[in-house]
Symmetry: C2
Subunit: 329 residues, 2 copies
């Protein structure tokens, strides 16, 4: 426990790759353990092989109580970055039970394992802006103390996770910080996420000469998009300076509609496009507007977002252009 050992759950994903890369470059003496079903590809990292070599991978089903306890007992990490999640709102309507178990119960198993076997560990429990639910315009930008009215199964699961974190902190004296992370964007994010999908479609128009049409879901919803590099620095800032038991918005502080994202690309690339809205996603209730305030995180840790939306969108577009060219080659 004297050393800087970190365990990253759900390491194989988008955030896990970037966080591993960040640790590899800035904290060379850290030991990185990661839980993943299979070795990730992380094709978005410039030095994937080096990063992969720096991580000790473990297979562990976080719904398996004994396996989770055993792993945490063995590794005894100083830090746990809990990224593992069922993170799709749309899919949570189709699989509410899986969404709940893979967010709430998985976190509960991690927290309980730490309570029983590794109490000196700091856990960063990643949550979601979806926890705010349906909000009224005068609540914007959203602050952490606002009442939660979660509006989908994913959001319910995340609020339950955060409530459990609170009780493990206050009742059992564990060291847990929580986030409500807003919409991450960045090169390498799966195209099921809206900005990645839009960027790929633009890249395809330019690279493959497909028809100048962009298909999106509801173009009017407003979200707070934050670059992955800013997210990574935020999580690091919370590990270093966050206060036990506190929840922090991780956000850019401003909101954009999905249609605006398309417009920014169209202007950036000087490429007029036709916008096609499809309503094939199952979302009985949707949050029209979500954007946050990062004042608390800034005041308590010194963190501020650095990457502009335009820079971030540009990076994502370049990623897809490279991917499509590689694929064609």
């Amino acid at each position: 426990m004297a050393d800087n050992t970190i365990l990253i759950t759900g390491i194989s994903g988008f955030v896990g790759g970037y966080y591993s890369s960040f640790l590899n470059h800035t904290k060379k003496d850290w030991t990185i353990h990661g839980i993943s079903r299979s070795k990730p590809s992380w094709d978005f990292l410039p030095d994937t092989d080096t990063i992969l070599d720096s991580v000790q991978f473990h297979q562990c089903d976080l719904l398996d109580e004994q396996a989770t306890e055993q792993l945490i007992k063995e590794i005894k990490p100083r830090y746990i970055l809990h990224l593992a999640a069922f993170s799709s709102v749309a899919e949570s309507w189709l699989q509410p039970r899986l969404a709940f178990q893979n967010n709430t119960n998985a976190f509960l198993n991690v927290a309980e394992s730490v309570r029983l076997h590794n109490r000196e560990c700091r856990i960063l429990s990643v949550g979601s802006s979806e926890e705010y639910g349906i909000v009224s315009p005068h609540d914007l930008p959203l602050k952490e103390e606002f009442l939660n009215k979660p509006a989908n199964p994913y959001a319910i699961a995340r609020v339950s996770q955060e409530s459990l974190a609170t009780i493990y902190t206050r009742g059992y004296d564990l060291d847990i910080c929580c986030t409500r992370s807003f919409n991450h964007i960045g090169p390498g994010q799966h195209q099921k996420f809206v900005v990645s999908s839009i960027a790929k479609q633009f890249a395809s128009i330019v690279t493959n000469g497909t028809a100048p049409a962009i298909v999106i879901g509801n173009g009017e919803i407003v979200r707070d998009f934050i670059d992955i590099d800013d997210v990574i620095r935020a999580y690091d800032a919370i590990f270093e300076h966050g206060r036990t038991g506190e929840t922090y918005n991780v956000c850019s502080g401003s909101g954009h509609t999905i249609a605006q994202i398309v417009s920014i690309y169209a202007e950036m690339l000087d490429l007029p496009v036709h916008l096609e809205q499809q309503n094939n996603l199952v979302r009985p209730i949707d949050n029209p507007v979500l954007f946050g305030s990062y004042e608390k995180l800034m005041n308590q840790t010194g963190w501020k977002p650095r990457v502009s939306l335009e820079t971030s969108l540009s990076k994502i577009y370049e990623y897809w252009c490279n991917r499509l060219r590689d694929h064609a080659a």
Copy 2:
């Protein structure tokens, strides 16, 4: 589905026994199914054998997804009274994971089974006053719209259960009503509950001549005690007249300290006692004061509590006197 079939989960307990008896006396054409590990004893009912004969018992682990789905698919109940729970605050501190699973996940399996196989069913999801958590004096009496700050693992589990009920109602159009039930009391309740414990000690002093001392935990906490007969009528009123998606306090509307309960008995029996406070229960955080308003339930269903605290305490005392005499005989 045309008939009045009800499924009662956790039927073998205190509330399940009284509810079965109520149905047997007032709704003779109903078919009653109950989930229970074993056949209950219900020694507190005057006509236990008749009631037991009126119920079709099933063994079903509500954490077993397939078994729960299968049973609900087979029975296709018009109503589900979901009583099954892990209902001890003190034990939830010792077994937070079990408390969570046996409240939240068990309910989720019931709701999901209804969503998939039996959508026309009305579910009554029983919750707890503990959901209110630590409240300030000017929030009293507690109303349903107040912000929840649950303060123990049991309460977190109950809030998560209620949140899931809300999303199943609003997102999937199921017919679910919720309660926040305050402290039930009545003959036959397990002596691990405070009023039952106090009544048994008084009965023992009178019947067995034990020393005139009453052992309690924290005597200063205030709770809202409601007689089991009033609870049963409240649940019936919600099934009949409750509004889909609503949560109702089930309470007496007034609060008493534990020490006051002892005083009422001492006066009623003209038996001065010595009060011994023990702090052997593991409760890192406790709610000092909880009592509710039943205005919403009254306005929407016409229900009102009928049994005075003194009458209720008297019945419980008589129950224990009979039990102790039977045991001695």
